[in-house]
């Protein structure tokens, strides 16, 4: 971080630097991020505040966002870009997906030049309104990546009425897009109304975004809840978001993370139903059957996929996912005999 400060000062003074200024890699790259991994919580970290970086992974958010946009003063953009680049090379964010929110284009393209070579997992594109904006980012990312051995995903942030109207097309504008998200402060401002506690002014936009995301086969991620001290309000917001179809939301303080994880955890009933479906699926796999059935009902593949996701979410939330009652029709002997079958590859089809 000190190196980043020195480099910023040198660049501001117009001093030529020998080498590219990048510090040596401080940690191995974490595993590549899967297209449909858990994205319940993503913690915003101002890009020019490195003191927050080193502990961010300890709070076990599903993602951290190194922010170059709104949380960074315009005079500090250059410093933040270097700090974020260095952080991607040196800081261990543990299991969190490493995201960067770039600035609006065209400055955002310069941000990409600095950070994409450091292989962030995901780029958030602010104030997205058009397909062209996404394609411009996609093209620059592709240009910057020497190889596509690990994906760099995109998550457009829709923050205007126009962006919401284009949600479906935006979601399909690039194969790199894995989620849509919404920025409610700017959206309310665009509508010309204040934000309300119950979010009535944004309900249409949130529902529309969820529908567009699902139609395009990507995740729908909710906005942040800015009242850091109101954990009950946060829980309520998260639970209602989950009911709408969101799979996660942003957060601005670590204390929000466990509450969000609880809010987006499946209920006991959901888990039990998912367990029954997964058990039926595993039984069908073990028996070489192409059709999965639960009792007399046929189970479609998307339902199986969703059940697997529910079990994963429950496991991630630390909930008990052990099957403690035998699936009807399967003897205990059968369950013991059947080796655990491979699960469907949930990164299948993920490109690049």
């Amino acid at each position: 971080m000190i190196a980043a400060r020195v480099e910023t000062a040198a660049r501001r003074s117009g001093i030529e630097l020998s080498g590219d200024g990048r510090p040596p890699l401080g940690a191995d790259l974490p595993d590549a991020s899967a297209r449909d991994r858990l994205r319940r919580s993503r913690l915003y970290l101002p890009g020019n505040e490195p003191k927050f970086f080193v502990s961010a992974g300890l709070y076990e958010p599903d993602g951290i966002i190194l922010d170059l946009e709104d949380s960074v003063h315009p005079d500090e953009k250059d410093a933040a870009r270097i700090l974020v680049r260095n952080a991607l090379r040196t800081v261990d964010f543990r299991t969190a997906e490493r995201m960067v929110r770039i600035n609006q284009l065209p400055i955002g393209l310069e941000d990409l030049d600095a950070v994409v070579p450091e292989r962030p997992d995901l780029i958030l594109i602010p104030k997205t309104e058009t397909v062209e904006q996404v394609r411009e980012v996609d093209a620059r990312v592709t240009e910057l990546l020497a190889s596509e051995d690990r994906p760099v995903w995109l998550m457009p942030i829709l923050e205007t009425a126009l962006g919401i109207e284009g949600a479906f097309e935006i979601a399909r504008a690039s194969e790199r897009i894995i989620a849509l998200t919404i920025g409610l402060e700017d959206y309310a401002a665009d509508l010309g109304v204040p934000r309300s506690a119950d979010g009535a002014e944004s309900m249409y936009a949130r529902k529309r975004l969820v529908n567009a995301a699902k139609a395009a086969g990507v995740q729908a991620i909710d906005s942040v809840y800015g009242q850091v001290d109101d954990l009950d309000g946060l829980r309520e917001w998260g639970e209602s978001g989950r009911r709408l179809g969101f799979e996660g939301m942003g957060c601005v303080h670590p204390r929000q993370i466990p509450v969000i994880h609880e809010a987006f955890a499946p209920s006991r009933e959901e888990i039990e139903r998912a367990q029954r479906i997964v058990a039926a699926f595993e039984k069908a796999q073990a028996e070489g059957l192409g059709v999965v059935s639960l009792g007399s009902k046929m189970i479609d593949p998307p339902v199986v996929q969703q059940a697997l996701r529910v079990v994963d979410r429950a496991t991630a939330a630390g909930l008990d996912t052990r099957v403690d009652s035998p699936e009807p029709g399967a003897s205990s002997d059968e369950r013991e005999r059947a080796a655990p079958p491979p699960r469907p590859d949930r990164t299948e089809g993920s490109r690049p």
Partner: protein, 521 residues
């Protein structure tokens, strides 16, 4: 050989002086290894015939009281820190002594605070020769620079009592700040405009000093009740306009940490007590008034409610968080050494289950037992801890003496001692290879809880076994040290120190466990 005599290696391999301020010393030999023999010190015989029969011991000023006590050069004057950073009485006393023209006093405070910085001037003028007592802030800095004529001596609260009983420190005149007192000298800390709670730190002085002066800004007619200190030990009573600044004596409210790292440490420590089975009906614990400790109490209270268990007693420093436990029935008693906030003061004044204690009941090595070893778990802080689990609370990594020991050493006797510390501060590692100053030996420190993991002392296999299956981030202390060094850019630089001792660190039994050396400026 230094200005202060020879140094020898002690039982934890630290160089310690064989003589301190003219008195021979015993190097630390190991926990429980030293068994002093002999007879305790005692105050001179006094008779009621020499004191006013009507019980009115008031005199007009501190100067007059000092003159009646026969104050002269080289005497030992003690004061106490129950008014904390709001205390006026120590400076009133030492300045009164200066007016009388005496020199070379030894000031024996139970602790000093930044408000006592003007004592530096009195040392420069020769009024005060040196300080034996915990030195916080500017006085610690002054001592670190080797500017004090004598050696500083740092003792724990219990160690102070032990030193008085051993006769190592003979108090000539104790000047006791009394938030409420009567003309006979009965004194109480829980009432009055400068109320602070317990007066326990002054109890030994009231019993063992040659002379005792009570200074009060709230004189009440006899009898002052409750009498935390008995007027039968008091020579003179002096009225002052004010003995302290109430806003600095107790906090309006003590604050739980808002740092997410520290909250995580606090939550994990509470979980450790729960998961290890320490938190059970009838257990006991102690936590101080630091941000992590307060947050710990909140998390533990939630877990106690959930499990339906209550503590038999908790040990203070009391705060509103402990008071809430008491009033909710989550603990049977608060045994309170000092009172940190207004809620604590309110509670100790009216709740018969909120008991004022003293270093004698809680910590004294020369008692027939004490409360500290009866506590199931204690949560403490530290400036440094090393991979051998030794703890430091008195110096910083730059070698400067900046904090007192307080009851920290005494609390290590608990059944489970937990140091709850961030793994680094301002990019300076807290978990290190070797602490700058050993204040507590590693064999007494069972757990080091940081935001980057919890290390259990390998000596405590029972704890490790009890925590099998817990999802707490238990790691070796070496792993935590390695991670911290990676983050902070390598091992911390060693402080630049000279061979000149500036202070001796006493262990609870009176032996010398380590030395603070002058910082090379």
């Amino acid at each position: 050989m230094s200005r202060h005599g020879d140094l020898v290696d002690n039982g934890v391999g630290r160089r310690v002086p064989v003589e301190v301020n003219g008195l021979p010393q015993t190097p630390f030999q190991g926990v429980g290894a030293y068994s002093p023999r002999g007879v305790k010190a005692s105050p001179p015989i006094r008779s009621c015939r020499d004191f006013p029969a009507d019980g009115d011991k008031r005199v007009g000023s501190l100067e007059e009281a000092f003159e009646r006590c026969g104050l002269r050069d080289g005497m030992v004057i003690s004061t106490h820190h129950h008014l904390r950073n709001g205390d006026f009485v120590a400076l009133l006393a030492l300045r009164a002594a200066a007016k009388l023209g005496v020199k070379d006093l030894m000031w024996f405070p139970s602790a000093s605070f930044p408000c006592h910085e003007p004592v530096i001037e009195l040392m420069e003028q020769g009024v005060v020769h040196h300080i034996e007592g915990s030195m916080n802030g500017p006085l610690g800095d002054y001592c670190s620079q080797g500017r004090m004529r004598g050696l500083g001596v740092l003792r724990s609260h219990g160690g102070r009592w032990q030193a008085i009983q051993d006769g190592e420190v003979h108090i000539d005149i104790a000047v006791i700040a009394a938030p409420t007192a009567d003309p006979f000298g009965n004194a109480d800390g829980s009432h009055g405009p400068s109320a602070c709670g317990s007066l326990g730190f002054a109890l030994a002085d009231s019993m063992y000093a040659e002379h005792v002066i009570a200074v009060t800004d709230n004189l009440v007619p006899f009898p002052c009740t409750p009498w935390q200190l008995q007027g039968n030990n008091v020579d003179h009573v002096v009225e002052a306009d004010s003995i302290g600044d109430p806003s600095l004596i107790v906090s309006g409210t003590t604050q739980v940490t808002r740092s997410p790292e520290r909250q995580m440490i606090a939550r994990n420590v509470a979980k450790l007590l729960r998961d290890a089975g320490i938190m059970r009906d009838g257990f006991s614990f102690q936590a101080g008034a630091g941000g992590i400790a307060l947050a710990f109490v909140g998390y533990l209270a939630d877990m106690m409610r959930e499990a339906g268990v209550a503590a038999s007693f908790v040990r203070g420093g009391s705060t509103r968080y402990l008071v809430e436990l008491l009033e909710e029935g989550l603990t049977g008693y608060i045994l309170d050494g000092q009172t940190f906030d207004l809620e604590g003061v309110r509670s100790i004044a009216k709740n018969p289950r909120h008991i004022a204690t003293s270093p004698f009941t809680s910590y004294n090595y020369h008692g027939k037992g004490n409360f500290a070893s009866m506590v199931d778990a204690v949560v403490l802080g530290a400036t440094e801890v090393d991979v051998s689990f030794n703890g430091n609370v008195v110096t910083h990594s730059d070698g400067r003496l900046l904090h007192g020991i307080g009851g920290w050493q005494n609390c290590l006797a608990s059944r489970c001692t937990i140091l709850a510390v961030p793994s680094f501060r301002d990019r300076i590692p807290v978990v290190v290879d070797e602490v700058t100053t050993i204040t507590g030996p590693g064999e007494l420190i069972d757990v080091v809880a940081t935001e980057r993991g919890i290390a259990i002392n390998p000596r405590r296999q029972d704890l490790l076994d009890a925590l099998q299956g817990s999802d707490l981030p238990i790691r070796s202390i070496d792993e935590i040290r390695d991670e911290v060094e990676r983050i902070c850019g390598g091992k911390p630089a060693k402080p630049r120190l000279t061979d000149e001792p500036v202070a001796a660190i006493k262990w609870v039994d009176g032996t010398v466990i380590d030395t603070v050396f002058r910082v090379d400026s």
